[in-house]
Structures are given as C-alpha cells and as structure tokens.
Symmetry: C2
C-alpha cells in the first residue's frame, strides 16, 4: 500500500476504472438459474448478455455499488451478497483497463422489474457471454457449492417458509446430487437451525407438508454436507 507521496504523480496512478459485477442465483422449476442482462457496448458488444454490474463511483464502496446496480439494472433488492473475487486481467474489457470486484448473491425474487432486458438462464446452458463473465459465473458457482456444505447460505434460495422437500430440492439442485429423504430430514432437523412455522401447505393435491423456517438470521457455519 506504500505509494509515492509526490502529488504530481498521483494522477498517473489513476489508470483503471473500477467496476462491480454480480452473479445472482435463483432456483426456478428445479433448475439453478443465473440472472443475465443485455450488454450493449457498440462496437464491442451487441446481442450479447452478461451478469449485471457497473461502475463504482468515487464516493461508494464496492458493496454500495453492487446494491445500486442490482436495483437499477435488474430490479433486485433486499438480497444478501458476498464478495466473490476481484478480476484484474489487463485486457478483460475491450475499452481499457477495468478492474471488477465481483459479488454473488441468492434470491427467490423471480420478478425482475426493470426496463432493461433481463432474464434467468440455466447455469448449465449458458450462452456466449460478454467480457470474462463466464469465468465469473463459474467461480461463483464453485463458491456456492462449497458454501452450502458448511453454512446455512441455502436460506437465500428459499422463501421465508418452506417444506423439508423444498429444502432438499434446493440442496439437490445446487449440488447436483440426490439425497435420501429420511436421512436428509434427520440431519437437517438435528442441526437446530430450522423451526416449524406452525402451518401446513395448502392447495396441493396430496398430503400437505409441514412448513419450516430458519431460526438463524444470517448465514452460519455448520457441518452440513461433506462430499
């Protein structure tokens, strides 16, 4: 962090533009989806998509910036995000040096009330993407898979109240792996981070399931799944 103290040099040190990008995951129809947004930067990019993002302003932290861009460009607010990685390849933006601090977040909010072209896409069937966004999504997915194994982060993919089957499906979709129903339930309830919501499902054409909610506020660490 040492930098020269000569004021006349400071201008030359400000060579890079700072940006943020955010990978937002959501489960739709039992498939893990990522939020994409149209990128239109002629002559470099047209008819192409990428993850939402944008500039960091002088008076903002990276995190402030992400919240603003999520809201303005994708209509997504009130979701928890966490820092993923900072991408600093010299040529990652065709217009010049742009260093991006990437974040990732989870949501159940499927509505994307925004004027921009925004859509959800199966993470396994991504189209060609702008910039290094494919690599950013790949890294976010790795992080998500790792974190569901030792934290309660899965909470972000579920509504406030959910059934144990919903919870199981969420894990199965993220980890791409099936679990035994009885063992799954035993294990989940043993952790103590769930409590019954005191109600049952309604309007289903089968026996209604008990509803549960998380009894912990923020993401906590547990030993959830090992492999």
């Amino acid at each position: 962090m040492k930098l020269t103290n000569k004021k006349q040099n400071r201008k030359n040190l400000k060579f890079a533009i700072l940006a943020t990008d955010v990978v937002i995951f959501s489960i739709r129809e039992n498939i893990l989806n990522v939020l994409l947004i149209e990128i239109n930067i002629p002559p470099y990019y047209k008819n192409i998509y990428g993850v939402p993002g944008g500039l960091i302003l002088p008076e903002e932290t990276a995190e402030d910036s992400v919240y603003g861009h999520m809201k303005n460009k994708a209509g997504i607010k009130n979701i928890d995000i966490e820092q993923l990685y900072t991408f600093s390849s010299v040529d990652r933006d065709p217009r010049g040096r742009v260093v991006s601090v990437a974040y990732f977040g989870l949501t159940t909010t499927v509505e994307t009330s925004s004027s921009a072209k925004v859509y959800w896409k199966d993470v396994k069937k991504l189209p060609k993407l702008a910039y290094d966004h494919k690599g950013i999504i790949k890294k976010a997915l790795e992080r998500l898979k790792a974190k569901v194994g030792y934290t309660t982060i899965i909470k972000g993919l579920l509504p406030k109240e959910f059934t144990l089957s919903d919870l199981q499906t969420a894990y199965e979709v993220v980890l791409n792996k099936k679990f035994d129903k009885r063992n799954f339930r035993k294990k989940m309830l043993s952790f103590g981070f769930l409590k019954t919501a005191g109600a049952k499902q309604t309007g289903v054409a089968n026996r209604p399931a008990d509803l549960y909610k998380f009894s912990v506020g923020s993401t906590q660490t547990f030993d959830i799944f090992r492999s």
Copy 2:
C-alpha cells in the same frame, strides 16, 4: 460492468488508486507469525508497521503486483498466494481513495533479505498497525483457519520434508488446539497426501523421527478437520 462510452468521461471515472497488500504467515518457534514492514508516509504514518504491499501498475494484474512487492519490499519469493478480499472503504487511506486487493500466503522462509525494516510478529500480539491492516490480517487468519480444515494448504507452512510431529504442531499452532498423537497420525496417513521421504531426522537428542513429504503438488481439498 457497463460503463459510459463517452471518451471524455473516462478520465473522471479513474478516481481511485489500486493497490495490493499481502499477509504472509509463518510458524516460528511454535507460534504463528505474520510479516510486518515499516510504513513511513509523513505526515500520516511514521513509526508504524503494516503488511507489505504497494501499487498496482497499469500493465500488471493484482497478482503480478503482489509478487513484485513481496520480492522487492520483503525479500520473499517463490511462495504461493491466494486472493483474500478487496478492501474498498472510501477512507481507508488518509491520502485519498485507494482500493486494495489483499492476498495471503504461507512460507517457511524466515530470512527476509531486504533493506526495509521487516520483521515477523506473533499474530496474537500485533502492535497498532497502519491503514486497515489489522482487519486485513484478521480476515486472512480466519481464511487460513478455515482452509486448513478442508485443504492441504498447511503444506505452505512446512519444509519439503518434515516429521508427523512437525505436521501436528503446524495444525495445532494454526487452529490453536491440541490433537491426540495416535489419532492424528492415523488420520493424516489415511488421506494419502503424504509419503515417506525415506530418511530419518538426524542430530536430535531422542529417537529420530521418520521424514515425510506431501505427495500432492498444489493445494487439494480433503475433509481434514471438521470443528
């Protein structure tokens, strides 16, 4: 990552200076130490220490930058580092906006062949530090503790060949926790990431221990310690 395409605006977007900081850990006399370097930025900082770091240059990635600063300022080279977190608080540097991409690394190289004032310090007895470096070290330590539990990262704290007692001590020092010798050895050998080096300790005033080395090159994930 969308940014305005108007060239005349791009200069105003370059408001921040980019820097890297690196937290280097090493075990010395059964204590986890961190490498500190004198920070001298009058009138803001004098007689104060912090972790090594410095500017990112226009043609460098953050990672390139860290390797350069580690070598030039602390005389440390040939160590593996990984990205830790990007610190972007607006006021973290008294001279203006500096966004720092922080890294952390492990080493056994205790010699710090450098002209700058560089020294190793017990992570539990840190003095007052410049900038937000105390927070950076705290985050690095959390990451290190987490990663020894599910990767072979501990390798970075050990010489090429080491005894099982050395390995146990390394885990104990990092996790601040004692292990049972027999159970520890059984478990470590069961993973298969160790192999005998075919030699024994020499010059010790007790029964010489077998030497081992890691049979894996880079850091790999295993289920090493749960709690």
